[in-house]
Symmetry: C2
């Protein structure tokens, strides 16, 4: 009988042998084609070769140490980017692969995009080169201690001093201090500050200003600026999210970002033609968060699946005397494999969103803003839904790994802590559902007035509400479990449910409910609509986007069949989770509900044999996963033991050469030798 360690390697090899498709085909697809994959893999190898990016002992480091490691990474990242002339997309992959939020992250992800989109051409000509080449290191300072994204309630002021042609930037209260600003605490020498623009006592609302923070000569904070790091967080441990308070700091009038609004020397304010164009940035970031969610789910699934394939517990096979691979238990499948299906659905929805966003960006250069609303609504809805799927799903997968899932060596904790931020930033998830719902409600009202109006495909189902009498008689037509698998039947069911929730929201509003009292209805509706979109995208991605020729090869057939099993899992898991909403108006019968539960069980079973193949298909390297449990070779227990070698409590500073812990003489010996006093029952004179 092989040792547990060897058995793990046999097990994972056996999993790969029984996989019915070639995972590397999907890897290339997910990397954006063979060519791009080659290039991205070269970048990964480059990072692996560079000592400053080494992550061997990352899990042992406290915040100060992580920050100290991050500074050399910043420099080396910029050097390598420049040396190899990386495209923005390649540089982005580089940063993802580093897998740590280096403290200039916000310079590239927020400061530069805001500058590019909101500074005038003239301003960009001056500032652009400084910013692109890191002479200016910048951050984007919007959030305040007392307010998140509500621009209208920010307290920081920018008051025009006509005499000097300057803005006076001021933080009147403690709650007006800028807070949560990444790259601000220690790194940035410039900030785009959102502040209330005030001219002659009149408040024109929040606008962006370029404010120097630190001397370009020696990095000392400029007069009137109090800046500091804001303290430890759930994630982003290496990032210097910061606090800044401005005491009447003066900047030139021309430091206001003037692409959309302008203020003249005379103090005349001109407003933007398209006020909403100024908010393109959040939409872009939300779109990337959808892709980031997919990546994070895929990462967790890779680790959880591989470990569950090599971890044997419970029922013993009498012939081999081996316990069962835990991945064979439905409870384990149910807690891990749906996350795989969500990762796929999110990837396909990310493609869809990326394309819509690209189209919108192309349109807008021609002055066509038709897609503005859709881009905003779908990036909001998908961001809200996918980040929650990820945040919850990764944690559930972690809990499914037994005790070892609680160790940082699992590789499931460090990145998840960071990921947890995504449910809050760029629009809090629950809040975003109001935007989606308001949009659907508006469409519904429009359609009722004008049933032949144009609707974009994802909201076309709303038409079914025009004849409400017929709508309420709709019933799911599936006459057997097999028919439930039919994509049309599923999509129709999700459309019906979302439409019903739109109608109910409209009714509630009609009956006088305040919008702010309809939060729960919005959360429910947005989720219903987005779940429909996700299934539609997954289905289209599978059937149309990668359209296999009419004569597919056996290899292509095998791949499609495998991915289709994942699609079915996504569908039935979602259906089962939301079953009440399909039952409560009678659209589903009790029998159909029972079929759904059975179809979910069957879907788990049919994904199971390919599970390790799917884990492999995302193409993560062992170095990136940084996981004792989820490495490619399956040697989980050996790696768990090996990683303890780096624990500082076992190092020289904390344990002497005889193996005795720091503090023994002072704190332990008195206990062991009874000097700390023996326990006696309470005496009446106890003063306690």
């Amino acid at each position: 009988m092989p040792s547990a360690e060897n058995q793990q390697q046999l097990d994972i090899a056996a999993e790969r042998a029984k996989c019915t498709f070639d995972p590397s085909q999907l890897t290339a697809l997910f990397y954006g084609g063979e060519e791009k994959m080659k290039r991205f893999k070269a970048i990964e190898a480059m990072v692996d070769r560079e000592p400053v990016f080494d992550r061997t002992d990352r899990y042992f480091l406290g915040r100060t140490e992580r920050f100290k490691r991050a500074l050399p990474m910043v420099k080396r990242y910029v050097e390598l980017r420049n040396e190899h002339g990386l495209t923005p997309e390649e540089a982005a992959h580089f940063k993802v692969y580093i897998d740590d939020y280096i403290p200039v992250h916000l310079h590239e992800s927020m400061f530069l995009p805001v500058l590019r989109s909101q500074a005038s051409d003239e301003q960009l000509k001056v500032w652009g080169p400084h910013a692109e080449n890191y002479h200016y290191i910048g951050c984007y300072a919007q959030t305040e201690l007392g307010h998140g994204s509500a621009l209208s309630r920010l307290e920081t002021t920018a008051t025009l001093d006509l005499a000097t042609d300057q803005w006076v930037i001021n933080s009147p209260t403690q709650s007006s201090a800028k807070f949560w600003i990444g790259t601000l605490g220690k790194m940035a020498n410039h900030a785009v500050v959102q502040a209330k623009l005030i001219i002659k006592g009149k408040d024109y609302g929040s606008h962006p200003f370029l404010v120097p923070l630190r001397s370009l000569k020696d990095h000392t904070p400029l007069p009137g600026v109090v800046i500091k790091d804001q303290g430890p967080k759930q994630g982003a441990i290496s990032m210097d999210n910061g606090y800044a308070r401005f005491n009447h700091v003066r900047i030139p009038r021309t430091n206001m970002l003037m692409r959309f609004s302008q203020v003249s020397k005379e103090g005349v304010y001109s407003k933007p033609i398209h006020p909403k164009l100024a908010y393109g940035g959040m939409t872009a970031v939300r779109t990337t968060l959808i892709n980031h969610s997919a990546l994070s789910m895929a990462r967790a699934v890779t680790i959880a699946t591989r470990y569950s394939a090599v971890r044997r517990q419970g029922n013993v096979d009498l012939k081999t005397d081996l316990e069962t691979q835990v991945l064979d238990y439905p409870a384990v499948q149910y807690r891990i494999l749906p996350l795989l299906s969500h990762a796929f659905a999110t990837i396909f929805s990310g493609y869809w969103m990326n394309e819509m966003y690209a189209q919108y960006n192309a349109d807008i250069t021609k002055g066509d803003t038709t897609l503005l609303k859709d881009v905003h609504v779908y990036s909001s809805g998908l961001k809200s839904y996918c980040t929650k799927l990820g945040a919850d799903g990764i944690e559930e997968a972690r809990r499914c790994l037994g005790g070892h899932g609680f160790s940082l060596f699992s590789g499931m904790i460090d990145f998840h802590r960071q990921f947890l931020a995504t449910v809050t930033y760029e629009g809090e998830n629950a809040l975003l559902t109001q935007q989606v719902s308001r949009y659907l409600l508006k469409l519904y009202k429009d359609v009722i007035r004008k049933p032949d109006m144009h609707l974009s495909p994802p909201s076309r189902y709303i038409v079914s509400l025009v004849n409400h009498e017929r709508f309420v008689q709709q019933r799911c037509p599936a006459r057997s479990m097999a028919e439930l698998y039919h994509p049309k039947i599923v999509l129709k069911a999700f459309q019906h449910r979302a439409a019903r929730l739109i109608f109910e929201l409209a009714q509630a509003e009609k009956q006088g409910a305040q919008w702010s009292d309809l939060n729960l209805e919005c959360m429910r509706l947005s989720k219903a609509h987005v779940q429909y979109i996700m299934i539609e995208n997954f289905h289209n991605g599978l059937e149309k986007r990668y359209n296999v020729s009419s004569n597919p090869t056996a290899e292509q057939e095998a791949l499609l069949a495998a991915v289709r099993s994942v699609y079915n899992l996504h569908v039935f898991y979602t259906l089962e989770t939301e079953l009440a909403e399909f039952l409560e108006d009678g659209y589903f019968s009790p029998e159909q509900a029972a079929w759904t539960r059975q179809a979910l069980k069957d879907s788990l079973k049919s994904v199971r044999p390919n599970a390790v193949g799917f884990a492999d298909c995302f193409g993560f390297t062992d170095k990136f996963l940084n996981s004792a449990l989820g490495s490619y070779d399956g040697r989980a227990y050996e790696r768990m033991a090996e990683m303890t070698e780096y624990e500082p409590l076992n190092g020289k500073e904390m344990t002497d050469e005889r193996g005795v812990v720091w503090g023994y003489e002072e704190f332990l010996k008195p206990l062991i030798f009874g000097e700390a006093g023996a326990y006696k029952a309470r005496k009446p004179e106890s003063k306690l």
Copy 2:
């Protein structure tokens, strides 16, 4: 208009003014009466006075620093316990209040109880005093790298050497190394080791042995024992969970714990009369985990409620120009207040479980083991359900606090990370559901054979399945939303659902399904049964346990009414979450489903005015909460800013007196001054 800071204090005061009951009445109740509260509060004050327990800068410390702080805590804890003659219950409260898992935690929570229950009277006479007085510092070494709680698959062996009258303790493989053992890594000088007992080649299964680990003279590891700390974890940051591997370590034969099994000098093995009696320990720990869940939920609710009462965002009141307290939004209520209701339900269920366990312990001294099964099943089911409620609910409440919930200053993260362990240890939550379901299935089969058999109250509803024809015709009799509030109607609904799931599990088994294929059914059934128990306990606690005299005072009436609103919230939140299972067999009508959703909204509204009163009622001190957001006085923003003062990145070591960050010269300057090279597009000769 007051500043945001002053407004926060006005807001929280206004909340307290409008509370309809006296929170201190509940505080006394939860502390176990006025007398006990006085004593416990004195212990809290004592801890607050002791510098070693100070937690001002706890959130900034890395693992090594936390461990270094924990050692003095260990010594001081023992000294104070001895000095004041604290009872075990008081010492337990002391440790809870320290709010850090000091690295001898497992000595008192596992080593001592196992010794007391599994060593023979004779052994206890020798070992007891050493262990009680910390001469022996012990741990309980069961879990191995390759196995969790499955005693039968542990690999460590204890082989009797008849010649020397010794056991030889050995770890044959890497995966047999003891792992996850709290207090082992650096602190313990003894362990109770679970090892396979082998005599003359015969394996008698796992048994406990007292194994010396480190010299009592100088704390050096004994020959043949490799021990180390096992590395960083999600929580328990100050705890030295450890790794130990034994290389043919010899201990006297009499170091086997012999209360239940014995081995004579001649190598004759005697088995225990009641084999299951040996496993009492886990049941006790599970029972305490129920109480621990309640405490943790209450803690999160306290912080989240207070902050949401002083946090104003969104809709503006035109008269006052104040934004809305976020606690007034249904989305916020929906994400925080149900956790309050779960905390109450868990407290009342904890009382119920504690009493059952005390009764069981009393019975057992008289040789009566009737309650063994119930104690095991209910501690398992409640542990599984309540720890999950807590783990998920605390995280949801944290996410509801906006960005500041992501800061460690929120006070929502450090304790939650530790709490997350509870879903895994002492029986993994999903696994435990099988035990509950197996028990219910067995009862069902018995009842079918013998309908007049005795059933304990919580499972009495199973009788309804005897006449199955009548059972399937059951429908919820509520004719209005008001009738849904009737406790009898609610309890009946939960009974019906659990009974149906028992029946379906039995059917699936009858039709040939393997038990291991029925995981999902077990998870569903166990949850259904436990949810019923929780509601029953909450209801009884409210109506019977604290039975108000027939002429209640106005104060008592007010309290009861307030708690009843929390009960309703718990009921309708649970009902709504599980709505599909009430609909899918037609027990609920679509109309009743709609009433449920409305009743949930109404329940949130009716708890809302007392929310801060309920947050206060748990009696947590500000020092314990250690939260910028949830302190009693509501000064959230000021405290957030104040706590940044302690951030080491702002300290001398990382930022010089001019305000310039460590590493500026080496890593930032080269970027700012362009020495790191400027970006150029990729050249063809790039080797990447």
